[in-house]
Each structure stands twice: as structure tokens, then as C-alpha cells.
């Protein structure tokens, strides 16, 4: 295949743009290219990228999971509640959070696979449910050590050092733990989705569920698995979020869902894939992170952030749907 400009734009447009952005920012502000800054970009996008990877898994299976943002916020509050109010250990907090994630994933699966509610509607409902549920135990207040509880007593627990390290520690003083977690989760899911027969079944269900079922794939099981994977990954994101901010913040989940979905959609345009793919989602999240970090360094006002994200998303969608050859 010859590399026409159009083909080049479809396959490498986003990567070329990313390289160009890095070059511009590096020239304008030399501090941008420092290893520390690059890792803080990655740290800033790690949680959004994780949620995006989860959404990508459901998109590969032909679904959608809007509830990841609400779930991450909910899990973040649950972690804080477990540590501060219940005075639990690091391990029990993590287990509680992962357990809640799996439960929510199964709940989504029941609504979508069992009851047949359209995925967008079911997970939108779940998003609201979780966003509201996280406010109930504390009467709508954020959770920090020394919180006065609803019954008038004072919370005895605190965020353990071990738990906080999940969000703040840097391995070898350079690699933030959330970035490491993202790398491990994304690499594992990429391996499964791109190279194994299990990944093929996920993609096959997303492309033509009837054909997959008639070829012997247990499609319902895989669809349930997709929502459970998505929710589990989102709850890992919630754990990292709690560890990062060191308290249970009722407003921490704002915007997470939209950013994660945007990363997954931008990922469609990476390397001309034209389909949901794990690596593309990570690149999409990093792309937005680089852009925001660079603009901040250049003293662009913070209120431009959403404008920039919107422009990137629309550009990527234009490549995916407008430039790419029409497919039957």
C-alpha cells in the first residue's frame, strides 16, 4: 500500500501531532522535557487512562460503560470510609474496593445482558446511582481523619502510609506507582485483546454477536466479563485516586467519566485502527495530558482545558469517521 497523505493522516496523524506538540512545548519551555515533568504528565493521566482502558474493553465487546467515573469516585469514598471511619488496614480497604468494583460490574451485566437494557442507559443509571450512594454514609461530606460522624462521634482511623504510597510513592524515586499500575493493567489487557483467542471473541461479539454465537462463542459470558473487567479496572482507578488525594473527596469524580470516554474515542484514531483498542486509549489519554501540561507551562489559562479537549476529540473523530475508508 502506498502512503498517500490521506493514509498518512489516518495512520499516523495523531502520533505526528503528538510529536509536534512535544517539540513545540520543548522549544518554548525547556523544563517540559525533563524526565520528572514527563512522569508527572503520565501520573496526571494514569487514572483517566485506566478508566479509559476499562471503557475500551466494553466497547470492544460492542457495549459501553458510562459508570466508570461514578464507580471510581464511589470507590474512592469507600476506601476513605474503610480507612478513616472503620479504621481498617490497607489490605482490607483494597479488598473492599475491588469487591465493590466486581459487584458493580456484575450489576451492570445483569441490567444489560440479563434484562436487556441498552448499555448506555443502564450504565448512565448506574453512574447516577453510585454518585448518589457515595454521599449517603457521611451525609454528603468529604472524609478526612477526624471527621465528625452522623451520630456525633469522631472517626478514629487515618489513611495508612501503605495506602498513601499507592498514589504518591515513586519507584526508584522516578516512576510513580499509578503509572506502573497503568502500564501493567494496559499491557495485560492489550496482550489478551490483541493476541489471544479470548480477545478475538471479545472483538467478534462487538462486530457481529450473532455470528460469534453461531460460531460457538459463549457470548453472554464474555459480555458479563467485559463489564466486570471494566468495573474492576475502574475500581483500581478509584483506589489510586483515594491514595493520591489522601482523603475521600465528594467532588473527586467530576469529569473523570467524560475524560475516560474521550481517551477511548481518541484511541480509535491511533495507527488507523478505526476500532476500540487498548494502546490507542492510553495514547489518547497521554495526548490530552501532554497538551494540557504544555499549555499550563505556557501559562495558558486553565479555563481553556475543556476547549482543548473538545477540539482534540472532534479532530480524532473526524479522522476515524470522515477520512478513513467507508467500511461495509
Amino acid at each position: 500500500m502506498t502512503l498517500s497523505p490521506r493514509r498518512l493522516a489516518i495512520d499516523y496523524g495523531l502520533l505526528i501531532l503528538l510529536a509536534g506538540l512535544v517539540a513545540v512545548f520543548a522549544v518554548a519551555e525547556p523544563a517540559f522535557l525533563r524526565v520528572n515533568n514527563l512522569f508527572s504528565i503520565l501520573q496526571a493521566v494514569a487514572i483517566v487512562a485506566l478508566l479509559g482502558v476499562g471503557v475500551t474493553v466494553t466497547m470492544i465487546a460492542g457495549g459501553f460503560d458510562l459508570s466508570v467515573g461514578g464507580l471510581a469516585a464511589f470507590v474512592q469514598m469507600a476506601a476513605a470510609y474503610s480507612l478513616v471511619v472503620l479504621d481498617g488496614s490497607t489490605g482490607s480497604a483494597i479488598l473492599l474496593c475491588l469487591g465493590l468494583g466486581i459487584l458493580v460490574g456484575l450489576g451492570n451485566a445483569v441490567l444489560i445482558v440479563r434484562l436487556g437494557i441498552p448499555d448506555l442507559l443502564a450504565t448512565l443509571g448506574m453512574l447516577f446511582l453510585l454518585a448518589g450512594l457515595q454521599l449517603v454514609p457521611t451525609g454528603g461530606r468529604s472524609i478526612a481523619p477526624g471527621l465528625i460522624l452522623l451520630d456525633g462521634s469522631t472517626a478514629q482511623g487515618t489513611f495508612t502510609d501503605g495506602f498513601l504510597a499507592l498514589g504518591r510513592h515513586r519507584v526508584w524515586d522516578i516512576l510513580p506507582v499509578p503509572v506502573l499500575v497503568l502500564a501493567v493493567v494496559a499491557a495485560a489487557l492489550w496482550l489478551v485483546m490483541a493476541w489471544t483467542r479470548f480477545g478475538r471473541v471479545f472483538y467478534a461479539i462487538g462486530g457481529n454477536e450473532l455470528a460469534a454465537r453461531l460460531a460457538g462463542a459463549p457470548t453472554r459470558l464474555y459480555r458479563v466479563a467485559a463489564y466486570v473487567i471494566s468495573a474492576t479496572v475502574a475500581s483500581i482507578g478509584g483506589i489510586l485516586l483515594a491514595a493520591r488525594i489522601g482523603r475521600g473527596d465528594v467532588s473527586a469524580g467530576n469529569g473523570l467519566m467524560l475524560d475516560a470516554v474521550a481517551a477511548a474515542l481518541i484511541g480509535h484514531a491511533v495507527l488507523g485502527a478505526n476500532r476500540p483498542n487498548i494502546l490507542g486509549t492510553v495514547v489518547g489519554a497521554v495526548f490530552v495530558g501532554v497538551l494540557l501540561n504544555g499549555l499550563t507551562m505556557l501559562n495558558a489559562p486553565y479555563y481553556l482545558q475543556d476547549l482543548v479537549k473538545g477540539a482534540v476529540l472532534i479532530g480524532a473523530l473526524a479522522v476515524t469517521y470522515g477520512l478513513a475508508p467507508r467500511r461495509a
Binding site: 490483541a194 493476541w195 489471544t196 483467542r197 479470548f198 478475538r200 472483538y203 467478534a204 462487538g206 462486530g207 457481529n208 450473532l210 455470528a211 460469534a212 454465537r213 453461531l214 460460531a215 460457538g216 462463542a217 459463549p218 478505526n274 476500532r275 467500511r327 461495509a328
Partner: protein, 511 residues
């Protein structure tokens, strides 16, 4: 003369679909157009409706020579068609009345405010035009296929056509429903509408046709007037005699692979028995809705039988899912390959190799990692075996011709040995040459397994099967008498029909 067609010729690439086709159609006359799959019937209809342009030849409507650039222009000249797939006609969520008015609404001739008394009156007028006796406020989707067919005809008649083209209108109708349709067609004939009626059901033709034109391989192979000699027309259509019941073919010396006893496909349907032997190709035929797909699905584990027992390879057979069936060597190649087999290009392995390997990945990659090189080698071997014309295993099925697409479907289900192979409409949307290839492929690999082919078209059933049984109303009725003239095959003859000669396929002359 309502319609005069002279010397119509049409080629698609190197394939000549129509060669020098001429016929006349008078007002108030019903002309039946017969032809096997790939004979050029649908090409002819598409040219008459303005979907395709002809390469050469002329069409004259009411004495005026016309050329159509679009279906709208054909309609403006009074040629209106009711297409075969009635299930797709109209908007199923709208009422009958709204569907009857759909054409005027969509072309902008309707008043701005719709749904009021004026609309109801307009819809009632359209319904009255064919004597349609239906509650117009019912939702189209809740109607039976037959009723939807009548709605489609009412819509067509509302255009006040000079020529009405009906493409196999009785394919999914029961006998009383078909009679209701014929009554309406009689009324149209008496109003001087010319009917071009496409079918090769002898019952239909005897009831409605005044004359018959037979197409074979794109040419007019015969013209028949009153009194209609349907046997001769069928002979002209197939290029050979059909319908002779031959003595019972000796059963293969093999054990039965599949045995159905006292089987009911639907509650209240007649129970039936069926035995299929190893090495045998059984063709199951019957109209749409007769239960062919229900039977195939029950054998493949898509749904349970309503009643009765299945025995497969000597053991009770109750597959719980397609997965269960495939593991036990029961494969189903579904009808409508794009719906049931192929993946859209957004799937990374939509190519031929991935399509073929997909059902067998759990056997071929026990670790879970897909061995892509082995997958490609397997696909290349199948491509050679089935003569699939393609650049290689990495090609997308959408880049292939219909016949080659169907060979990919067949190749997939020959990638591992089957004990029972079910093929649902394997000749859909392919030309006669490709059909012969596929018949040969099915028959040459049939020795080691039992094969059941489900086809609507009796001629295809005769071409592929060692034995043909027909289905009606969710039961196997072990005869195929509908096709043949009464007398040549006695109704109720327990012996199934056999094609008169073997191999029963004819190749079209290569242009």
C-alpha cells in the same frame, strides 16, 4: 400494449446477466416470468424498475420508448414492483395507515399536518383500492407476513401502475393466504393492470398466469401460452426433465447419524420422524416459514424441540448451545452469510483466515495465544481446496464475489471434520456457476459425515440432495409434490424425489 421489451442485454463485468430478452405484456394480462436462481430474473426486474440501466435494448411503456435513470422515473411511467423480502417493507413501528401513506409523506406530496381525519381517509382509500380488509390503526410489525405483503401491494397499487411486478409474492404464504392475494390480483387484472408475475410454483401459475416466459442463463428459453404446459415450462427452465419419482434409493450401508422420533418443532405441529445416514446428503425444502430454520436451530442447540427426541451418533442429542454442538461435531453454516458468519471490517480478524479459524480457536490454540502463521496456512489450504478466487488469506470477504464469499463460509465448516453438517440456504445470492462448484464441494466431502441442506428452492434441493424431503407448517412431509405436475409424482408418495439424472447441475455457457 402496456409494456414491450426488445433485445434487452446487460453484463456485469465479464458475466452476461441478460442476452437479447424480448417480450410483450398487454393490459389486463398476467405474464409469468420463470427462471432458476441466476437465470436473470432479478436483473430484468431491476432494469424494468430503473435500478439498473440496460446495456442495449429498448423498453416501451404504453407505446412510448422510455429509459429510466431511477426507480422514481420508472414509477412515474407506471411501472411499480413489490419486492420479495416483504419483511423489510415499510416501517414496522408505524400503523398500517401511516405505512400506506409513507410514499406520499416521503416524497413531499403529503399535507404538513398528518395523522388527522384527512390522512385516515386517504389511507382508507388506498386500502379500498385493493379491497384490503384490515384494521388500519394496527401496527405494521404486529401483522402476519401475508398481511404485510398485502399492505405492500396496496402501497404499490396506490401509484396507479400500468405494470405491476410481483417478485415471488407467495413464497411465504399459506394456501388460503395466497388465494386471498390471487383474488386481489384478479381484480387488478379486470382493471387493466398488467401483471408481471415472478414465480415457478406450478399452483400459482395455473391459478394466475395467462402466458409464461422462461429465462435460462439470461436468455428467453421458452414462451408458453394458453393452455399452459407447465411441465414443458419447467423443462425449459431447468434444461432437463424434473419431477420423476425414482425408485427408493438404496439406503447407504451406514448407521444412521441422526434420528428424530415423534418430533414437534412447534406446539401443536404434526409430529414427524426423520433419519439421516452417514454419507448421505439430505435436502430439506419448503417455503419460508415452514420451519426449516427452526429444525436447523434445534439440531444446532439454538433452541429446544417443542417435543420429541433426537438421537445423534447413537446417543440422545440435546445440545445446550451452538458451542456444545460444535464440540460434538455438529456444524451449522447459517443463512445470510453477512448476518450469521462474517464480521464487519472493524473487527481486526475479519479477513478470510480469521473467519475460517474463529470457531476452532479453542482447538487450534490451547494456550490461548493465536498462532497466526498456522491460521494462515490452514486458510491457504482451504482456499486452494475450495477454489476461492482471492489474493490470499488476508483478504476481507467483502472484497470477494458472492459465490466466493459463500465458499469461504463452506471452507470454514470444512476446516475441522464434521459428523453432521447443516447448511442453511448455501446458494443464497450466488450465480449458477458458483452454485455448481458449491454443490460439488458439498457432495465430494459428504462421505464421512451426514449432511443436511436447507433450501427454499426445490430445484436447488434436487441439485444437491441424494434425497429431498419437504416441510410445511413445521413438519417434514416426506414428499416434494408441489413442484411437479400431478400424476408424475403422486401426492402422498412415501418415496422421496430424486433428480432424474446425476450430476444434476447444468453449467451456463461461458460468454
Amino acid at each position: 400494449m402496456a409494456l414491450a421489451v426488445r433485445g434487452l442485454t446487460k453484463s456485469f463485468g465479464s458475466t452476461r446477466a441478460l442476452a437479447d430478452v424480448s417480450f410483450d405484456l398487454a393490459a389486463g394480462e398476467a405474464l409469468a416470468l420463470m427462471g432458476a436462481n441466476g437465470a436473470g430474473k432479478s436483473t430484468l426486474v431491476k432494469i424494468l424498475c430503473g435500478v439498473h440501466g440496460a446495456d442495449t435494448g429498448s423498453i416501451t411503456v404504453g407505446g412510448t420508448a422510455v429509459t429510466f435513470a431511477s426507480p422514481g422515473q420508472a414509477r412515474a411511467h407506471g411501472i411499480v414492483a413489490v419486492h420479495q423480502s416483504v419483511a423489510d417493507i415499510g416501517v414496522p413501528t408505524l400503523s398500517v395507515a401511516a405505512n400506506l401513506l409513507l410514499d406520499s409523506v416521503c416524497t413531499g406530496h403529503a399535507p404538513v399536518w398528518v395523522g388527522g381525519r384527512g390522512s385516515r381517509r386517504a389511507a382508507a382509500a388506498i386500502a379500498a383500492g385493493i379491497g384490503l380488509d384490515l384494521d388500519l390503526s394496527r401496527t405494521l410489525g404486529t401483522l402476519s407476513l401475508a398481511e404485510r405483503q398485502l399492505v405492500a401491494i396496496a402501497r404499490a397499487v396506490a401509484h396507479d401502475p400500468a405494470v405491476l411486478i410481483l417478485d415471488e409474492p407467495t413464497a411465504s404464504l399459506s394456501a388460503p393466504e395466497a388465494e386471498r392475494l390471487f383474488t386481489i390480483l384478479d381484480r387488478l387484472k379486470s382493471r387493466d393492470v398488467a401483471l408481471l408475475y415472478i414465480s415457478h410454483r406450478t399452483g400459482d401459475l395455473r391459478r394466475i398466469a395467462d402466458r409464461i416466459v422462461v429465462l435460462r442463463d439470461g436468455r428467453v428459453a421458452g414462451r408458453f401460452g394458453r393452455p399452459l404446459d407447465l411441465g414443458a415450462a419447467l423443462h425449459a427452465m431447468l434444461g432437463r426433465a424434473v419431477g420423476q419419482a425414482t425408485p427408493h434409493r438404496p439406503r447407504p450401508e451406514t448407521a444412521p447419524v441422526l434420528r428424530l422420533s415423534r418430533t414437534r418443532l412447534a406446539p401443536g405441529a404434526t409430529p414427524f420422524d426423520l433419519i439421516v445416514h452417514a454419507g448421505e446428503v439430505l435436502a430439506v425444502t419448503g417455503p419460508v416459514g415452514a420451519g426449516k430454520s427452526t429444525l436447523a436451530g434445534a439440531l444446532f442447540g439454538l433452541w429446544p424441540l417443542a417435543a420429541g427426541d433426537m438421537e445423534f451418533a447413537g446417543r440422545p442429542w440435546r445440545p445446550r448451545s451452538p458451542r456444545d454442538a460444535i464440540r460434538n461435531g455438529v456444524f451449522l453454516a447459517g443463512e445470510d452469510r453477512w448476518r450469521t458468519t462474517f464480521f464487519p471490517a472493524t473487527v481486526p480478524f475479519a479477513h478470510i483466515a480469521g473467519t475460517i479459524s474463529f470457531p476452532f480457536l479453542d482447538r487450534w490454540s490451547r494456550t490461548g495465544l493465536v498462532a497466526r502463521a498456522a491460521e494462515r496456512r490452514a486458510a491457504a489450504a482451504r482456499i486452494a481446496e475450495f477454489g476461492i478466487r482471492t489474493r490470499g488469506p488476508g483478504d476481507l470477504p467483502s472484497a470477494l464475489s458472492g459465490g466466493n464469499q459463500q465458499k469461504v463460509v463452506l471452507a470454514r465448516w470444512h476446516a475441522e471434520p464434521a459428523r453432521l453438517l447443516l447448511l442453511d440456504e448455501p446458494f443464497q445470492g450466488i450465480d449458477v456457476g458458483a452454485r455448481d462448484d458449491i454443490v460439488r464441494a458439498i457432495r465430494s466431502a459428504a462421505r464421512e459425515r451426514a449432511t443436511i441442506v436447507f433450501v427454499n428452492d426445490l430445484e436447488e434441493a434436487l441439485a444437491v440432495g441424494d434425497r429431498v424431503v419437504s416441510m410445511a407448517e413445521h413438519a417434514v412431509v416426506e414428499e416434494a409434490a408441489d413442484f411437479a405436475e400431478p400424476g408424475t409424482a403422486a401426492a402422498g408418495d412415501p418415496h422421496p424425489l430424486r433428480p432424474a439424472e446425476a450430476p444434476p447441475c447444468h453449467r451456463p455457457p461461458r460468454p
